[in-house]
């Protein structure tokens, strides 16, 4: 690990360095999933691809939305829309911790001057029916990443196990760049012709979405859409695998999973609108989990999920 890495100067430079670093370590650098999700884990590249036996390595930025965390752009590090950087490798390599530490070096955290710790933190996602063991990684007392070995997703045991890294990009970047309020953070080159801060880009949207999430969104419609998404997810999974048009075996797992993601986000919005009581909350989470589980069940019946005609034949044999 070198101490000579130049400090990055902007938010986007940190993202670019992570992209370059993980690309150099053999990850497929994917793009964000084009739907509203609460965390990078919801991207099918993690949720679905951590299932089944096929090897997998991907890294991507995922814009994440947590409606209840909106603070109208006032809070120094809390927002309803923020970015996560997500790395998922299956099977988890033996040197994943070292790979991770290398990524800190790459973004200008000199590990010879900082105190990096792996502090116990078990991860669980009740909506995805998933859990894993790992740590939150501390740099000088601040949590900079989440490090998890997936044990179960959608109710399925993970075999092999995926290693998952999640970086909270804004917080990490603020730390590296020495910024106290997220809105003051340089987004692009601060010495460029048109320097833009994070606030130039997101302050107004934070205000708009905070108002929308807490007061604007029509709850009747959200409730209706939740029901629709739930029904659609189940309907899509109930199709006969044999597609009459192409004559192929096609399960509509990803389209169904899109509906599961949708339901999850609608639930988060309803929660922010304060229309879900404590007892109902559990019930909604359970409904989303049931969808995630059905999608997982279906995914392992596809080729990406490790299904092969031979194996299927043997199983029915």
């Amino acid at each position: 690990m070198t101490a000579t890495v130049q400090k990055p100067r902007s938010f986007q430079e940190i993202i670019l360095r992570l992209q370059t670093y993980w690309a150099s370590k053999g990850c497929a650098v994917l793009q964000p999933y084009d739907m509203e999700v609460g965390a990078g884990t919801f991207h099918p590249a993690t949720t679905l691809r951590s299932l089944g036996t096929r090897a997998w390595a991907a890294a991507y930025v995922q814009p994440s939305r947590r409606p209840t965390d909106g603070r109208y752009g006032e809070n120094p590090n809390r927002m309803q829309h923020y970015y996560q950087y997500q790395v998922i490798i299956k099977p988890s390599p033996a040197d994943l911790q070292d790979l991770y530490l290398g990524s800190l070096d790459a973004i200008g955290i000199d590990t010879s001057l900082h105190d990096i710790r792996f502090v116990e933190d078990d991860w669980e996602s009740p909506t995805l029916g998933a859990w894993g063991l790992g740590w939150e990684v501390w740099c000088d007392g601040m949590e900079v990443s989440q490090f998890t070995y997936f044990q179960q997703v959608g109710g399925h045991d993970c075999h092999p196990v995926s290693g998952e890294l999640t970086y909270g990009l804004e917080r990490l970047a603020m730390y590296v760049l020495g910024i106290d309020h997220v809105m003051d953070m340089p987004f692009n080159d601060p010495d460029g012709a048109i320097p833009l801060t994070y606030g130039d880009i997101f302050r107004q949207t934070e205000q708009e979405y905070s108002r929308h999430n807490f007061d604007g969104a029509t709850t009747d419609m959200l409730l209706r859409h939740f029901e629709d998404a739930e029904a659609e997810c189940e309907r899509l999974l109930a199709f006969d695998p044999a597609d009459p048009n192409s004559g192929k075996r096609i399960l509509m797992v990803h389209p169904a999973y899109d509906q599961c993601i949708k339901a999850s986000h609608l639930f988060n919005l309803l929660d922010a609108r304060g229309v879900i009581s404590v007892t109902e909350r559990q019930a909604y989470i359970g409904r989303v989990r049931a969808l995630a589980k059905k999608c997982a069940d279906a995914f392992v019946q596809t080729e990406a999920g490790g299904w092969t005609p031979a194996a299927a034949e043997a199983a029915h044999g």
Binding site: D115, D140, G141, C158
Partner: protein, 686 residues
């Protein structure tokens, strides 16, 4: 005798699991070795964030050879039986011996089970130990199926004799045991070989790893105290935090940092809790005013800038945390200033206490009413006590307690003072939760005592009413603790009250008699620790007014003290003798001998002396009992021992003279009546 060194090197083990895991490793491996026929002199286990280590001294070289003479079929038995015997022993016909007993000749197999080398046994034990290790939570990683707390990277397993160190041949799921380990993750990451436990520990230290958790904890504590002393400050003790931090570092480096000026006015409990819970910082206190003014963080490494970067980072994180705490504090104070503490409490209507027992608000209303009833019994003003009960739980709605639940009560005191409430009310906000455990202090301020009793009795009568009593080891609502709290509050403050009457004013529908008997069970456990026998308590429980715990315990203590004397023990014997004779006579004659004995029918001096002694005792006991002076009453009772003994020695009760006999039985009745008036001595054992 060889020594053994085992190291299981993994990714970071959760701090809270390390000590237990080291102990489990020691026990599982040594038990396995002993089961395998080996002996050892000594075994010690160690843990760091990345390793579990076991050092065994004086292991035997091999398990002993075992001899067995196994009896086989008779000579001349069918070939089939003989073949079976040969198969089971692995011998041939020629190797069998023929023995004879009175039933005739039979075959015997002389079996030798040779001893096995320690290394082979150790490898088996280690395999089993790793595969069945009792981690609270274990995981798989990569493509393997082995389970460990976090990925297991390497195993060091050496057997050390005078000839040198040898690696024990061992392999598990692709990990082969060797003689190498690694030092500190950042400061000395390279692998190195070791030759013995001493060599291992010394080389680890050179590689910036302190093997022994206790040594790491000592280093942290010692260095922290030194640094505090140099600054004229003192460390706020926190053993739990010390143990945790010692499990987070292999090379502890103590750094002292500043808490921003703008946060120093936060209550010390807030500073300490926020720093401990979020950052695992220790607090340094100014002994002059008790304020917390510095923090201590324990880094896991040395750096070229002597920790300056690390400290700066930690300070920044702390500032962000304390900004939140300051926001909560100021926000809560604003709420209190605007709507008062009772205004803050209003939101409790929307907080469920228990789905069958209503909201926190409903519960507080009940506690208020009950507090009013209890206040006069404990010398508190009913109005003041009611006021305290109303706001005692208001801080559950504060932002601060929302963030730090463990500050409940503590914040209430601050907010009550800020609201200008009387001290007695403010103090009750915290004290009414007390005593929290067997060693926690019992509140003594009358208002606090009244609210504390009402709070606990509402809980107990409530859960009794909905039939959610503790069973076996299950006590999810901590009802045993609540009952013990009531007992200690009553005894500690010498409160005179009839519990049954108070229960009747608690949550409606509780079975008061059943609850009282639960209290009596808890009381027995409590008094047992004081050296009061359960039969002594039973003897006192049988007396009227047994729901007045202060009276009950005064009586029990006096009776126990009496029984601890010679006179007391012998008196019991005399009482029992009198009682047994009476019972027999009463059963036989079908009458009760309670007509009053007459001294004029007394025939002996001993009889007359007993009459006099009983008169004296009665004269002393009656006023003493009236004054609830059980010690005096029991002393007077114990004084009967000599005359009763003398009476039984000299006098035959069952004489032929019916009048004399009846008179003597009536005399025994007086003994019984006097004694039973003090306590039910029939329940005393022995």
């Amino acid at each position: 005798m060889p020594d053994v060194l085992i190291e299981l090197f993994s990714e970071e083990i959760p701090a809270r699991m390390q000590t237990r895991a080291a102990e489990d490793l020691r026990k599982l491996v040594t038990d396995g070795l002993v089961e395998g026929g080996l002996t050892y002199a000594h075994a010690r286990a160690f843990s760091t964030p990345r390793r579990l280590v076991l050092a065994i001294e004086g292991l035997s070289l091999e398990s002993p050879t075992q001899h067995e003479d196994r009896k086989g079929p008779k000579v001349g038995a069918p070939q089939q039986a003989l073949d079976g015997f040969l198969r089971s022993t692995g011998l041939t016909m020629e190797q069998l011996h023929v023995h004879e007993d009175k039933k005739g000749a039979f075959y015997v197999a002389h079996l030798h089970k040779p001893g096995r080398p320690a290394a082979a046994i150790l490898a088996e034990v280690l395999d089993k130990t790793i595969r069945s290790f009792p981690w609270p939570k274990a995981m798989r990683w990569g493509a393997g199926s082995l389970r460990w707390v976090r990925p297991l990277h390497s195993i060091l397993c050496l057997m050390v004799t005078e000839a040198g160190a040898e690696v024990v041949p061992f392999e598990i799921e692709g990990i082969t045991a060797g003689n190498t380990t690694r030092g500190h993750r950042f400061m000395a990451p390279d692998a190195f070989a070791v030759t013995s436990f001493e060599d291992y520990a010394a080389r680890l230290k050179r590689a910036f790893v302190i093997l022994d958790t206790a040594e790491r904890a000592d280093m942290i504590e010692h260095e922290t105290r030194n640094r505090a002393f140099a600054l004229g400050l003192e460390l706020v003790e926190d053993k739990g935090l010390l143990a945790e931090v010692a499990g987070l570092v292999e090379w502890p480096v103590v750094l002292v940092g500043d808490i921003g000026e703008q946060f120093l006015n936060l209550p010390p409990e807030v500073l300490q809790t926020s720093m401990r819970e979020h950052q695992k910082f220790f607090s340094l206190r100014d002994p002059a005013d008790g304020r917390i003014v510095r923090f201590v963080t324990v880094a896991n490494r040395e750096t070229a800038d002597d920790g300056a970067t690390i400290l700066k980072g930690n300070q920044k994180v702390l500032a962000a945390r304390l900004s939140d705490a300051k926001f909560f504090w100021e926000n809560d104070l604003r709420v209190v200033a605007n709507v008062g503490l009772s205004g803050m409490a209003e939101g409790l209507a929307s907080v469920t206490f228990h789905n069958k027992l209503g909201s926190q608000k409903a519960r507080i209303d009940r506690i208020c009413a009950l507090t009013r009833e209890i206040a006069p019994l404990v010398g508190a003003s009913p109005d003041l006590a009611h006021q305290a009960a109303e706001v005692a739980k208001a801080d559950l709605r504060s932002a601060m307690v929302g963030e730090f639940p463990e500050l409940q009560g503590t914040m209430g005191v601050y907010y009550a003072r800020a609201a200008g409430l009387p001290d007695a009310v403010a103090n009750a906000c915290k004290a009414h939760y007390q005593p929290l455990g067997p060693s926690d202090a019992v509140p003594t301020e009358p208002v606090s005592v009244a609210v504390a009793l009402a709070d606990k009795i509402d809980t107990l009568t409530g859960f009794w009413a909905i039939d959610e009593k503790p069973t076996g080891s299950k006590d999810p609502f901590a009802l045993r603790r609540a009952a013990l709290g009531v007992i200690r509050l009553i005894l500690g403050n010498a409160i005179r009250a009839n519990l049954a009457a108070i229960f009747a004013k608690g949550y409606a529908g509780a079975d008061a008699a059943d609850l009282l008997s639960f209290f009596h069970d808890r009381l027995k456990v409590f008094l047992r620790d004081e050296g009061i026998r359960h039969d002594v308590i039973d003897a006192c429980l049988a007396m009227p007014g047994n729901d007045d715990l202060t009276l009950l315990v005064t009586r029990a203590r006096a009776l126990q003290a009496t029984l601890d004397t010679d006179d007391g023990t012998n008196l019991i014997q005399g009482f029992k003798r009198a009682n047994n004779i009476l019972i027999q006579a009463e059963q036989k004659d079908g009458v009760e001998y309670s007509f009053g004995a007459d001294p004029k029918f007394a025939e002996t001096d001993q009889e007359r002396a007993l009459f006099t002694a009983l008169d004296t005792a009665e004269a002393a006991i009656a006023p003493a009992m009236q004054a609830e002076d059980f010690t005096a009453a029991m002393a007077a009772m114990a004084a009967l021992r000599a005359p009763i003994d003398a009476f039984f020695t000299a006098v035959q009760i069952n004489t032929d003279n019916a009048i004399v006999r009846r008179n003597r039985l009536n005399l025994l009745h007086r003994i019984r009546a006097i004694c039973l008036g003090v306590a039910d001595l029939t329940r005393i054992e022995g």
